[in-house]
């Protein structure tokens, strides 16, 4: 078959002999493929193998799906990943324990706070300081995680609409999500890649006005929740495209290692915040919502319900922080009181960016030689972590996020492995979609809410 257009080209003759006819479609130039599919020598029942991605707007990043189609039915789907592999785990072996936070936060970039917390909890277990992390730091961690859970869930729900062509769902969701990012920016200074949670606590206390901003967010979110529910819940197109789609029951979830909203959408109330509490989650009052539909629509509803629960937890964090009053390195610290582990300097914002506070600089440069030595040592070399290994798992917006951290007693991690839920969940695409229509693939993947940064790391 010869090519007459510059965009479409036939494959190599070798491939033709070995695999059948090969077409390459670029842009919107599908004429040749359509013509071939309509031609008489395209027997009915012949299979078509199509590469969906790695550049495809509905694949949440650089995900490539190799589809084998029989007409419009998906006979086989194989996800191919690795396009966003950045060697985060390897890089962490070459930095200090504290610097590792700046790497793992970039893994799943929609839930940076969770990556940081999982890693820090594992490091703290290795150090044996789990009980010594100040309570104020734990409350701030919970607060940030719940803000991040809302932003991540909205980052899952909004594109669910967009990928079905419903831009209004996207813009409404993204608008609300923007407010959560504003909160994160106010508290950590950045919308993503925060590197805010550190081994031993958090890098800074909340800035002035943060509690008021969170209260304002919580108060003004109710209309947004109602609006999103009203827009989506009974939307005939959204319901039609999502109900009964991407079915995965409890047995399938167990076999495929699927956790998080997908597991809870089968009716099992499994949430690590309740089952194996960390950061003091056992002291907060919240529910674990479930639905029992096992489908994409159920996962949407579940995420919306989880947003409500997250806001409940946020409210409790704000109340606790308000009751504690203003913090301070002496009175109510946010970093462990252990000079051999905790970051030595209180950070403050200067004209040239964030750095050690002027008081700390005056102390080390003008008053204490020992303090200067200590500062130099702990910032260049970092702290040592006793040899051993630890696995810390937390309930991320997507499911169980585990950090397997190994130390050989050095100032740098010997090995860090992030057990990312997106990576595990993408495996289940075949179980959910094979035998279904190709159009259902899009809502199925959207309901998994995979983030390729976490998948490929």
């Amino acid at each position: 078959m010869s090519s007459s257009t510059p965009h479409a080209a036939t494959g190599a003759t070798d491939a033709e002999a070995a695999e059948g006819r090969v077409y390459t479609a670029g842009g919107e130039d599908w004429d040749e493929i359509v013509a071939a599919a309509q031609s008489e020598d395209f027997e009915s029942g012949e299979r078509m193998v199509i590469n969906m991605g790695p550049q495809h707007p509905s694949t949440h990043g650089v995900l490539r799906l190799v589809l084998t189609l029989e007409g419009e039915t998906v006979a086989e789907v194989r996800p191919a990943i690795g396009y966003l592999h950045t060697g985060i785990e390897k890089n962490m072996e070459y930095r200090t324990w504290t610097q590792g936070v700046t790497f793992c936060t970039r893994a799943d970039y929609l839930m940076p706070i969770f990556n940081e917390t999982a890693y820090c909890l594992a490091v703290e277990r290795l150090l044996g300081i789990e009980d010594k992390v100040p309570e104020r730091a734990q409350i701030i961690r919970v607060l940030l995680m719940e803000i991040n859970r809302i932003s991540s869930h909205l980052g899952g729900i909004a594109p669910m609409g967009l990928e079905l062509g419903a831009t209004t769902i996207y813009t409404q969701g993204a608008r609300w999500r923007e407010r959560t990012l504003d909160l994160l920016e106010l508290i950590t200074g950045l919308r993503m890649n925060h590197a805010f949670i550190r081994p031993g606590g958090v890098s800074q206390d909340l800035p002035p006005g943060a509690l008021d901003a969170i209260r304002a967010f919580l108060d003004s979110s109710q209309p947004l929740v109602r609006r999103l529910h009203a827009l989506i819940d009974a939307n005939p197109i959204f319901v039609g495209r999502n109900k009964g789609i991407a079915y995965l029951d409890l047995q399938g979830c167990m076999a495929l290692g699927v956790t998080g909203p997908i597991l809870r959408a089968t009716g099992l109330p499994w949430d690590l915040r309740k089952a194996q509490p960390y950061c003091g989650y056992e002291t907060y009052d919240f529910e674990v919502p479930t639905v029992d539909t096992c489908d994409a629509y159920g996962r949407y509803l579940l995420r919306m319900n989880e947003i409500d629960e997250s806001m409940k937890i946020m409210g409790q964090c704000v109340d606790r922080l308000a009751a504690r009053g203003a913090g301070g390195p002496e009175k109510d610290p946010v970093m462990i009181r252990d000079a051999k582990i905790g970051w030595p300097a209180a950070l403050s914002l200067g004209p040239d960016g964030l750095g050690p506070s002027p008081e700390h600089i005056a102390h080390i440069m003008g008053q204490s030689m020992e303090a200067l030595i200590h500062h130099f040592k702990i910032i260049t070399e970092g702290f040592r972590v006793p040899a051993g290994q630890a696995y810390a798992a937390i309930e991320s917006p997507r499911g169980e996020l585990g950090a397997h951290v190994v130390s050989d007693g050095d100032t740098r991690p010997y090995r860090v492995h992030l057990r990312d839920p997106s990576f595990t969940h993408l495996q289940s695409v075949a179980a959910m979609c094979e035998g279904g229509m190709v159009a259902d693939l899009i809502p199925a993947i959207a309901s998994l809410d995979p983030v390729m940064g976490g998948v490929d790391r």
């Binding site: 930095r95 167990m254 495929l256 070399e381 100032t411």
Partner: protein, 273 residues
């Protein structure tokens, strides 16, 4: 500016963490012996005995502040830091660990296997239970962990690798984390294989979720999972050479310019450990 990554020769016997120490392991036999000595002798021997035990322990580090093979006038260069290796943890393990170990022992016995036929040793460290499994018994142990009503580890959260080049004969470790939702328990399985024969039986038949995780561990460490349906690279390109997460694989990187200064790649930078 670059400093050699390799540890000094003096610390070649260093061990890593909770991994089995190489060289003569101070096993349960020796432990019992010293217990006897303690029981028979006066308490006055205790400091001497403890001191000797510490000196017998492997050296984890020599020198301080990253002194690597250079003449050192501070005196710290001769410092030898010993660390007692983590051994077979003695019973009782505490928490739910005894229940799990007993149940696994019973389940294996039903197959005519003794506990030690399948499990090399057990380590309880930092509130986590690790079974070091003999590799040929891995699928059997995993099946028991999944199916036995007293164990019911329904969920495998995947496998990752760790490379310990210093542990001759057991360089590559595959580490599995299991979760039981029924009993709300966790357990870790660890399998170690020599670099020269990096074969581990695949667990895809027991836990299908291990499929991608095993591919990733093959990709990054070169551990071959026998019986995997299609053990191909998953993160690196198909034609990639080498296994990047191994310790003998360099980080790579190029120097970059930042504000007029030339910053070498991370592995060529000076480090202080």
């Amino acid at each position: 500016m670059s400093e050699p990554e390799q540890p000094p020769k003096a610390s070649a016997e260093e061990t890593h963490g909770s991994e089995a120490p190489q060289g003569p392991r101070v096993g349960s036999g020796e432990q019992a012996q010293s217990d006897e000595a303690a029981g028979g002798g006066a308490d006055g021997d205790l400091p001497v005995r403890l001191g000797q035990e510490r000196l017998n322990a492997p050296v984890v580090r020599t020198g301080m502040f990253g002194i690597h093979g250079t003449p050192d006038t501070s005196g710290f260069g001769l410092l030898r830091v010993h660390r007692a290796p983590l051994l077979d943890s003695p019973r009782p393990y505490g928490s739910y660990f005894d229940v799990v170990a007993d149940a696994l022992g019973r389940a294996l016995q039903a197959d005519g296997l003794g506990f030690s036929d399948a499990i090399e040793h057990v380590v309880v460290d930092r509130g986590e239970l690790t079974f070091y499994v003999r590799r040929e018994r891995l699928p059997q142990v995993a099946t028991k962990l999944r199916d036995d009503p007293e164990l019911r580890f329904e969920l495998c959260t995947g496998v990752s690798g760790v490379h310990y080049p210093e542990e001759v004969g057991r360089e590559l470790h595959a580490v599995y984390h299991m979760l039981s939702i029924t009993h709300n328990r966790r357990v870790r399985l660890e399998v170690s294989v020599p670099d020269a024969d990096p074969h581990v039986p695949s667990l895809v038949g027991v836990y299908p979720t291990c499929n991608w995780h095993e591919r990733e561990t093959w990709d990054f460490f070169g551990i071959i999972f026998d019986g995997h349906p299609s053990l191909t690279r998953i993160e690196m390109p198909d034609d990639w050479k080498g296994h990047p997460q191994r310790k003998d694989y360099p980080l790579g990187g190029i120097p970059v310019e930042y504000r007029g200064a030339r910053i070498p790649p991370p592995e060529d930078r000076r480090h202080y450990s």
